[in-house]
Each structure stands twice: as structure tokens, then as C-alpha cells.
């Protein structure tokens, strides 16, 4: 199953779920009405059940349904709103502590490195990582979309797993991020909460009635008990639905982890260690109950049953490692990683990438598309390893990350560069300009792909800014971008990725609708998109036309359009078009990305600007593009 199919499936799963929950809610309403009817018939013993119902005015049933439905709706909406903060809100509610990007703790450093490699390998910006102070082996991913996703890891995971196993666990979590499972998870949490809340109210009525002396006391007690039964009964069935969905996605994520890391030993060994660990993957925090389906391993020591959110460990291990002897691994503390020595994984990643040619062949174009939503770990490790030491440490430091971004925006033209540097000296935050001057010579030497990789690495550092620091930072970035009175393609991509990531973090996570099921309606937008890509890296106008045609013919539209040469890169029109294309269904995004890639590669090479454009388009449309293994030229 590829990325787009997984996305589609996640979407239809969400619909099924909503349907199931509506059904559950309806049965709740019927139960509530029945309950009232029974209460009434007890109060009027002289009439039988049918007579009581006939005598009760019909509005009563309406109001009861309205009341119960209203409570569930209000509770769900409240929960959803509290989750609007996205992944970090969930991590914070579980008591997670943000691991700073410049941490000196070798364990935490190793974890951040593993997460970073995996993110770059998947073509995503690096998500913030939270540490949960629990001794069991577990982890989770939470968020609405890729730009507000966070990863949470238990202390026990760090203490007991080695680098390879950690990589398996992190890859599993990235699969949840990429396949749209997180969004299902958050909706599930909100809906379940609404139903559970009925039970909570029932409980508080019961407690309240202890102090009440009024005549209505009996009624309140009965109502409380009724609500308790409905609420907890509803939660029971809700949990079964939740668990069924979750179990399926876990198998999928395990499989994806093998695909991402190209190895089944890491994740299989991690699972074996959970089995051998005295506390396994249990989480003590009571808040974790609601988000049990987000974790790597089951948070309660349940055996296999309807309520367990995870398939039994034995089954998961067997699926990964058919030759498994059935014995769990003993857990012992791992030797602390040394922060300086390069890992063996890095070395092997290196040897894997030496054979790539710079010439792109037709055959590998389909590979390129298949790679969307996948991960290219070896390539990512090589990219990180080849980066300049100074630039890497700047990307990992909240203070210097801003200088790095400013330096990337300084133009090669000396006149404009002078102007921009003056602007930095005058407006940038105290202490930042010297860093810009220091980083600039190195930044000018690296190519766009490396710059974009560094940008993705700097994202979690920038997310550590405070709100006012973030405002100032974006103000200066925008000034630097327009300093030369125009926006070029690299500036556009940089701005696009920064906005998507930081706006999602500081203001509100963005969500894609994803309901447009016809490309035809968006023909003008597609025309603009392909025209820009065709013109970006090809000089000859004849070749531009044929590149455009090659992409356009792949789109399932019966209209013919011809390439139109654009005078300049009109970023506003381009953004507008992408904003509309965002709402396409995942499978249509697949043909769109396919067309983009074919247009870019029509002349046999991938130009730097074309690579950057596709990267920016992918980021905007939530189709992350991993490192390609070809050097854009």
C-alpha cells in the first residue's frame, strides 16, 4: 500500500467511524428515552407501560433527546477545542517535557538525532520531541497534520533500547504521522470524551444527591444511575470501536517501520524487549487512558480482547519476524551513547548512497513518485553527514537558527546582499547579526537541497521561540525576502515551509479539507502549476512546451491546455492555486505530484529550482517528498 492509498483509507476510515459513532449516539438516545419511560411507569404504578408512554406528551421525548445529544455534543466540542493546540497540547496533557534541541544529555541527543534522520528521510520538517517520565517502553505521535505533529518518548525507551531499536520505534511513529492516523486519533478522543462525559455527569448527580434532602431526591438518584449506565455503556462500545481501528493501524505502522528502516530487527527487538520488561509498555498517568490508541505499545497489561487497542505483542513480533523463538528479550540498561562517535548506521548509510548517478532515467521516475510518503533513510543520513558542522549546530540552537535562516535569504548579488545585511544589522535581535556574518560564507557555498534540509532541521528550534520572538523573526524574514523587490523560487519555498510549520505551531494547526474529487474544476490552477515548473529549470522554449505536455497528458483531464510562458514568478497566484489544490482527494494529489515530477524530469535532469518547487508544492499539499538521491542541478 502506498502513501496515497493509506491516506485515502484513513479518510474513509474516518467516515466509517463517524457513522459508527452516530449509530452509537442514536442507540444512546433510545436508551435514555427508555430509561425515562421506565422511571415514569414506576412513578405511576396504576397505569401500565404502554399507557404511560401514550400519556406522556411527545415533546418530552424530543427534549430528552435534545438534552442528551446536546451534552454529548458540547462535551465533544470542548474536548476538540482543547485539542486544537495540536500535538503539543496532547504531549503536555500527558506530562511531557520538551527536549531542547541543544540538549547536552547524550541519550536525548541520540534520540533527537534518530528523529531528525527519520524526518529528513521522510521529507518532513523535524517534529518537536517530548520526554515522558515513565519507566516503561512506549512512545506516541500526536497532532492534526504533519506541521503540528510531536513525538513523545518514555524515559524507559531511552534507557532500555539501543539505537537500532529506537530507530524502529521512531519509524513506527512516523508512519502514524504520514498515514493520517493522528487525525483519526484526535477525533476519536473528542467523540469518546463526549459519551464518557454523560457517565461523569451521572456520577456527580449521584454524589450531589447525598446532600440533597428534597422530595426529588429519588428522581435525581435514578437519573444519575441512568446516566452512569448510558455513559459508561456508551464508552464501553466506543472503546471497542476505537480499539478495532487502532489495532489495524498498528500492524500497518509496524510494516511501514520495516519499510522506512529497511530492517525488521530494530522494531522486532524493541517489541521483544517490551515483552521482557517488568512494566512492559504500561503508562501510569491517568490522562493516558483517553489517548491509549496513540501509543506504540498497549498502555494496560490487557491480554488480547475486544478492548485492547493494540494487537497482542506475540502477533506483532511474529508478523515482523516469522522465525521468532517465542522468547522475549531480557532488558538491561544500554550503555550511554557517546555523543561524538558517528554511529554505525551512519556509516552504512553512506556506502548505500555512493552508487547513485546524477542522470535521472525514465525508469526511476515511478520510483520517485512511489517515494512520496516513504522514507529514504540512507540518503537522509548522508545529507546530514555531509552538512557543515557549524551549520548543523546553528540549526540545532534556537538562538542561532534565526541567524541561519537570515543567512540563507541573503542574495548572491553583492548590491542586494549589502542592503540585506544592513537590514539585519539594524533590525535583527541582539547578538544575532554576528552569527549571520559568521555563517554567511558557508551558507553561500551549499546548494538548495542542503539549505532546505537545514531548514527542516531548524524548524523544531524555531518552534521554541516565544510568541513575541516569533513575530519579530517572521517580520525580519519577510523584509529580507522582499528586499530585492521580487520573490524568487527558493525564497518562496523557504517562506512556504516556515509559514506552514510555524503558523501551525504558534497560531493554529492547519487542516486540509480533501473533498474535491474532480481535477477538471481545477484545470486553471493545474495549468499554472505545471507551467511554472516547466519554465523553472528549462531554458529552451520548445523544451518547456514539451515538458509541460508530458506532465499535462498524465492528468486525467480531457481538456487540452498549452504551455503559457509567464513573465515572472507570480507567487501570489501560485499560492492561491495551491490553496485550491490542497482540497483535492489524496488519490488525485498522487496524479498531480506525478505530473509535476514528470514535467520537471522531461529533459532528463532535475534543476535546483524545480526540485525546490516540487518540495514546496509537496509541503503545501501534505505530500512530503523525501530526499531523492539524485543531485538537483
Amino acid at each position: 500500500m502506498n502513501f496515497f492509498q493509506a491516506q485515502d483509507q484513513a479518510k474513509s476510515k474516518t467516515k466509517q467511524l463517524t457513522f459508527l459513532f452516530v449509530a452509537a449516539l442514536l442507540s444512546l438516545l433510545i436508551m435514555a428515552n427508555l430509561l425515562v419511560a421506565i422511571m415514569l411507569s414506576f412513578e405511576n404504578p396504576e397505569t401500565n407501560f404502554a399507557q404511560t408512554i401514550a400519556r406522556t406528551p411527545p415533546e418530552t421525548w424530543f427534549f430528552i433527546s435534545l438534552g442528551v445529544g446536546g451534552v454529548v455534543a458540547v462535551a465533544s466540542i470542548f474536548k476538540y477545542l482543547s485539542l486544537r493546540g495540536g500535538g503539543k497540547a496532547v504531549a503536555e496533557s500527558l506530562g511531557g517535557i520538551l527536549i531542547h534541541q541543544n540538549t547536552r544529555n547524550p541519550q536525548e541527543r541520540q534520540l533527537l538525532n534518530v528523529v531528525e534522520e527519520m524526518a529528513i528521510a521522510a521529507g518532513l520538517s523535524v517534529p518537536p520531541v517530548y520526554l515522558i517520565r515513565e519507566n516503561s517502553i512506549n512512545a506516541f505521535a500526536a497532532g492534526f497534520s504533519t506541521n503540528d505533529a510531536v513525538i513523545g518518548i518514555n524515559q524507559g525507551t531511552l534507557d532500555l533500547l539501543n539505537r537500532e531499536e529506537l530507530q524502529g520505534v521512531v519509524a513506527h511513529e512516523f508512519s502514524h504521522i504520514l498515514n493520517g492516523d493522528m487525525r483519526i486519533n484526535l477525533r476519536l478522543m473528542a467523540l469518546l470524551h463526549g459519551i464518557l462525559f454523560l457517565g461523569i455527569i451521572g456520577g456527580s448527580f449521584l454524589r450531589g444527591s447525598m446532600f440533597s434532602r428534597s422530595k426529588e431526591r429519588g428522581g435525581i438518584i435514578a437519573l444519575g444511575i441512568g446516566l452512569l449506565i448510558i455513559g459508561y455503556g456508551g464508552t464501553f462500545f466506543g472503546n471497542i470501536i476505537k480499539a478495532a481501528v487502532s489495532r489495524q493501524r498498528e500492524f500497518l505502522a509496524d510494516a511501514a517501520a520495516v519499510q522506512f528502516t529497511r530492517s525488521n530487527t530494530g522494531i522486532a527487538n524493541a517489541l521483544k524487549k517490551i515483552g521482557g520488561h517488568s512494566v512492559g509498555s504500561q503508562i501510569k498517568n491517568a490522562q493516558a487512558e483517553q489517548s491509549s490508541h496513540m501509543f506504540f505499545g498497549a498502555i494496560k497489561p490487557f491480554a488480547a480482547n475486544l478492548m485492547s487497542t493494540h494487537p497482542p505483542l506475540e502477533k506483532r513480533i511474529q508478523a515482523l519476524d516469522p522465525n521468532w523463538s517465542g522468547k522475549f528479550a531480557a532488558t538491561e540498561s544500554q550503555p550511554k551513547p557517546s555523543s561524538s562517535a558517528p554511529s554505525s548506521a551512519l556509516a552504512s548509510g553512506f556506502s548505500g548512497s555512493t552508487g547513485t548517478s546524477t542522470q535521472q532515467t525514465k525508469a526511476s521516475q515511478s520510483e520517485l513518485l512511489a517515494s512520496v510518503g516513504n522514507a529514504n533513510l540512507a540518503q537522509a543520513q548522508a545529507l546530514i553527514h555531509n552538512s557543515d558542522e557549524g551549520l548543523l549546530s546553528a540549526a540545532h540552537d534556537t538562538f542561532e537558527a534565526r541567524a541561519l535562516i537570515y543567512a540563507m535569504l541573503v542574495a548572491t548579488d553583492p548590491e542586494i546582499a549589502k542592503q540585506q545585511l544592513a537590514l539585519i544589522d539594524a533590525n535583527a535581535e541582539a547578538g544575532v547579526p554576528p552569527h549571520v556574518h559568521q555563517l554567511l560564507p558557508t551558507v553561500l557555498k551549499i546548494d538548495q537541497e542542503q539549505k532546505l534540509t537545514l531548514l527542516e532541521m531548524a524548524v523544531p528550534s524555531l518552534k521554541e521561540l516565544s510568541a513575541s520572538q516569533y513575530k519579530r523573526f517572521t517580520g525580519i524574514t519577510n523584509q529580507l525576502i522582499v528586499a530585492d523587490q521580487q520573490v524568487d523560487i527558493f525564497e518562496w519555498v523557504l517562506h512556504r515551509i516556515l509559514t506552514k510549520e510555524l503558523y501551525g505551531h504558534f497560531v493554529a494547526p492547519s487542516r486540509s479539507g480533501g473533498n474535491i474529487s474532480s481535477l477538471k474544476r481545477l484545470a486553471p490552477e493545474l495549468h499554472l502549476l505545471l507551467s511554472v515548473i516547466a519554465a523553472a529549470g528549462i531554458a529552451d522554449s520548445q523544451a518547456q512546451t514539451s515538458a509541460f505536455d508530458e506532465g499535462w497528458d498524465l492528468l486525467p483531464i480531457n481538456k487540452t491546455k498549452t504551455f503559457t510562458k509567464l513573465e515572472y514568478f507570480d507567487y501570489e497566484a501560485f499560492n492561491h492555486a495551491l490553496g485550491k489544490l490542497r482540497d483535492l482527494k489524496p488519490q488525485l494529489k498522487a496524479s498531480l505530484m506525478n505530473a509535476c515530477i514528470h514535467t520537471a524530469l522531461a529533459d532528463g535532469t532535475l534543476a535546483q529550482n524545480q526540485f525546490a518547487l516540487i518540495k514546496g508544492v509537496g509541503a503545501t499539499l501534505d505530500c512530503p517528498l523525501p530526499p531523492l538521491g539524485v543531485n538537483p542541478q
Partner: protein, 196 residues
Amino acid sequence: MEMIILLVIVAVLAFWLVAIYNKLVALKNRQENGFSQIEVQLKRRYDLIPNLVETAKAYMAHERETLESVINARNDASAGLAAAAGDPSNGAAIQQLAGAEGILGSAMSRLNVVMEAYPDLKANQNMMQLTEELTSTENKVAFSRQAFNDQVTEYNTYRSSFPPVMVAATFGHPSDAQLLEFEDSAAIQAAPKISF
């Protein structure tokens, strides 16, 4: 009917309270997280200062008093940091750290003034490197302190805004968090007077 209205009111009220409670906890956590960022930078600073003093010693044997006052102030500030890091929501600890930092700041600027008289020391490669790193660390301290103070302000503002203020104390948030203010600008201005 009254029952249903009551039910919905109870639901909304309970949720509202839960939302306030969660927001207070989240803001407080974020603020404590912000402090750990300052802690990293301040520790770095406290690690650099003894090296600097060690290098300076070789050149300025007659300034033992100045050097000692720097080391003492550094040790006090380091202890203050340890106390504050244990509980960043403790206003008194934060204030004590701010005071110790102020004393350290003025001791450092006194040292800088004294160093003017030793051109050899200022030209020392090691010294130049240390001074450079110290300046950069101080910038970082200022930066993470700004972020921390932003978070404290956000927490305080929310805590004392209208609906939360009624319940904040009951929920375990009885008082405003303490801003971390170093009186470094005042200390630097005062320093030359002491040395003459």
C-alpha cells in the same frame, strides 16, 4: 424539562472549569520548560567563567581580590540557579537568582575594566576566544530569558483575566509567577565608579 436545562448547564459549566484548569497547567508547564532553556545557557556561562579567571590569573597576579569576587559571585549564582531550577515557579528562588546574577554581572564588568590595564592579557588567544564565547552565551541568556518572561507574562495575564481569576487559587495557582529580571544595565553603569 428543568432537569434537562440543568443538565446542559452543568455540562457547560464543568467543561468550562476543566478547560480553565488545563490551560493553567499547560501555561505553567510551558513556563517551567522555558526556564530549563535559561538553565542550559546559564550553566554554560558558569562553566566558562572559571576558565576565564584561570587564564587571567597568570597575567594579573595583583588583582586577586577582583578575581576572587568574580569566583565567589559565580558560585553564589550557580547555587541560586540550582535552587531555582528545582522549582521555577517559586518566586523567591527566581528573585534570589536574579540578585546573584546581578552581583556576578557587576563583578564581571569590574574585571573587564581592570583587564583594560593588561594589553597582553587582552591579546591572549585563549582569552579572546573565552571572551567571545562568553559574550555569545550572554546574548543567549538574554534571549532565553526574554522567552521565559514572555511565557511568565502569558501565564500571569491568563491567571488574572476574568473568568480564570475566580478559580485560579482553588486550582493551585494562587499567585503570579516571578519574572526573571537581571539588573545588568544598571550594574554595568555603576562598575567604573568602583574601579577608580
